[in-house]
């Protein structure tokens, strides 16, 4: 091992010594002087093709951002299943590549491996498959048992439409604003689906903003919840959800599919897959398919989606004023969505009888970050009353938020496509 290291150190030193002369040789070859010889010409070519020669400072910055995402995922466990692939993708996508014609290395070079892997993002295939997996792993029984909680999922979608107005006000084109708005739904796959159709050039920024804010749910939501919900309201106990029959569970995806697809056909690729996945789970006769959809398949798609979204985020596109605006809009929209859900829950309580009141904290779960925001609601509820478990109740607005944001994306597509 020591010998091996010594040989390579000597070779490295030799290379460093040759390097300055090599540049001179490269210049002389370029000027038509053929006396450099094949060796120097080969080495010069090698040097020109290396990442060091094509390096730009902003690419280094992007690589650092990628490393920060990986650090956040490993050290603080912020959505590691997403941030590790995206962070690695950012590094891969920002390795300086030679500007050779016909090269098939980068994500935008037709024929390269990354190009074909990215096809699933560009054409909205991966988000639909992710929804299939989500459908196969989600239990809608809390929603079926207390359907009125779906209103909270609808109310929280105000984040999407407020962001739409905000994005237009900040100077984005209307179709771009439509894509950016979906960040307000806190739903990564839906945001990718909408931006791949409406504003492909902003896909990287939108996806990273959406996933970053999803990862920051435990940081962003609690202060807003504490600000808007009084201590008395935080301890409201809700009636336990009623038992849901198997038939109701089977009927839910079928009715949901027909209803949402007829009203908002644009959301069909997402909601069709979501309800299909749920039917696989609830039918009880396709357990193998449901198991594959919620485990292996969703894992494979998550890897490909994260990696290629990261790799598509090149420095030239990402390090721009519009990215900063997108991140700003994302933060505001997330706060508005959370506040929208909480305030709507408070408004609902004005019309409900004493025993039927809802704990306004669950309104924050109306954003569709499943199940992160439901988990945040549970933790906040426990802080006020250690025996008040809100998780099951919060899951209802949480999954209806997924449906709501997909419907909103479908509406945006139908307006702009």
């Amino acid at each position: 091992m020591k010998k091996f290291a010594a040989i390579y150190t000597i070779l490295g030193l030799l290379f460093m010594l040759i390097l300055p002369t090599m540049n001179l040789e490269a210049q002389s070859i370029a000027q038509g002087d053929q006396s450099g010889g094949a060796f120097f010409s080969g080495m010069a070519k090698f040097w020109e093709n290396s990442g060091f020669y094509n390096f730009e400072f902003r690419q280094l910055l992007m690589i650092v951002i990628g490393l920060v995402l990986i650090h956040l995922a490993i050290k603080f466990k912020y959505e590691p299943l997403l941030l590790v692939p995206i962070g690695t993708g950012l590094i891969i996508g920002n390795i300086p590549l030679p500007a050779t014609e016909g090269a098939t290395i980068g994500i935008n070079d037709e024929g390269s491996v990354l190009y074909y892997l990215y096809f699933g993002v560009k054409e909205g295939i991966y988000p639909s498959l992710i929804f299939l997996g989500i459908g196969a792993m989600t239990d809608f029984s809390s929603l079926i048992s207390n359907p009125r909680l779906m209103l909270l999922g609808a109310a929280a979608q105000i984040g999407i439409f407020a962001t739409f107005i905000g994005a237009v006000a900040l100077g984005f084109a209307v179709n771009e604003a439509g894509a950016i708005a979906i960040i307000g739904g806190a739903d990564g796959p839906t945001a990718i689906f909408a931006s791949s159709n409406l504003a492909p050039h902003l896909l990287g920024s939108i996806a990273i903003a959406a996933y970053s804010y999803m990862a920051l749910v435990p940081v962003i939501q609690p202060p807003i919840m504490r600000l808007l919900v009084s201590k008395k309201e935080r301890v409201i106990r809700m009636k336990p959800p009623r038992a849901v029959s198997k038939l109701e569970k089977i009927l839910f995806p079928l009715i949901g599919l027909l209803l949402t697809a007829f009203i908002s056909p644009g959301s069909l690729p997402l909601l069709g897959m979501l309800f299909f996945g749920n039917l696989l789970k609830e039918s009880g006769v396709t357990n193998r398919l449901a198991e594959t959809a919620r485990t292996s398949m969703v894992d494979i798609v998550t890897i490909l989606l994260g990696l290629t979204v990261g790799a598509s985020t090149s420095a030239a596109l990402f390090l721009s004023i519009s990215s900063i605006k997108i991140f700003l809009l994302g933060a505001i929209s997330f706060a508005i969505a959370t506040a929208g859900g909480v305030l709507f829950a408070k408004a609902m309580n004005l019309f409900l009888k004493k025993g039927d009141k809802v704990n306004p904290l669950i309104g924050a779960a109306g954003v569709s970050a499943v199940p992160a925001s439901a988990r945040v609601v549970q933790l906040e509820g426990l802080k006020s009353d250690p025996n008040n478990h809100l998780l099951m109740h919060a899951m209802a607005p949480n999954v209806s938020g997924v449906i709501g944001s997909a419907v909103a994306a479908g509406i945006m597509l139908s307006f702009f496509m």
């Binding site: 079926i144 359907p147 439409f161 336990p240 959800p241 307006f415």
Partner: protein, 120 residues
């Protein structure tokens, strides 16, 4: 790409209309789902009541009887599972030692499996 609104020459009224209509449609979809899901248990209950009537059983149709909390079901299911898992076969309670005669084989011989201590 063709757009429903003129993306070059839009005015603010278009933007507010899109936001308003979009938000209303999201509510509409979810309100319809709520209505359907308020209705389905009632329809299913009618079916159950009809079946029970046919079988000649009495029906208690008070709301409190129809509402069964999920956690009650979970408790019943856990109790049943524990009950059935801890059930044993009926046994005679007579403990006997059954002698089994095995023919000798060097493969199972104890002599080859233990160390022979040397003795003078």
């Amino acid at each position: 790409m063709t757009f429903l609104i003129d993306i070059e020459n839009w005015n603010w009224a278009d933007i507010y209309v899109i936001a308003g209509v979009g938000y209303s449609v999201v509510f509409l979809v979810l309100v319809l789902l709520i209505l359907v899901y308020k209705l389905i248990p009632k329809i299913l209950n009618i079916r159950i009541k009809k079946r029970l009537k046919k079988e000649g059983k009495e029906i208690d149709s008070t709301a409190s009887e129809q509402y069964v909390a999920g956690e009650v079901n979970a408790a019943i299911a856990t109790a049943l599972m524990l009950y059935f898992n801890e059930q044993h076969d009926e046994e005679s309670n007579i403990i006997t030692i059954k002698r089994v005669a095995r023919t000798y084989s060097p493969w199972s011989s104890k002599i080859y499996g233990v160390r022979n201590v040397l003795s003078r």
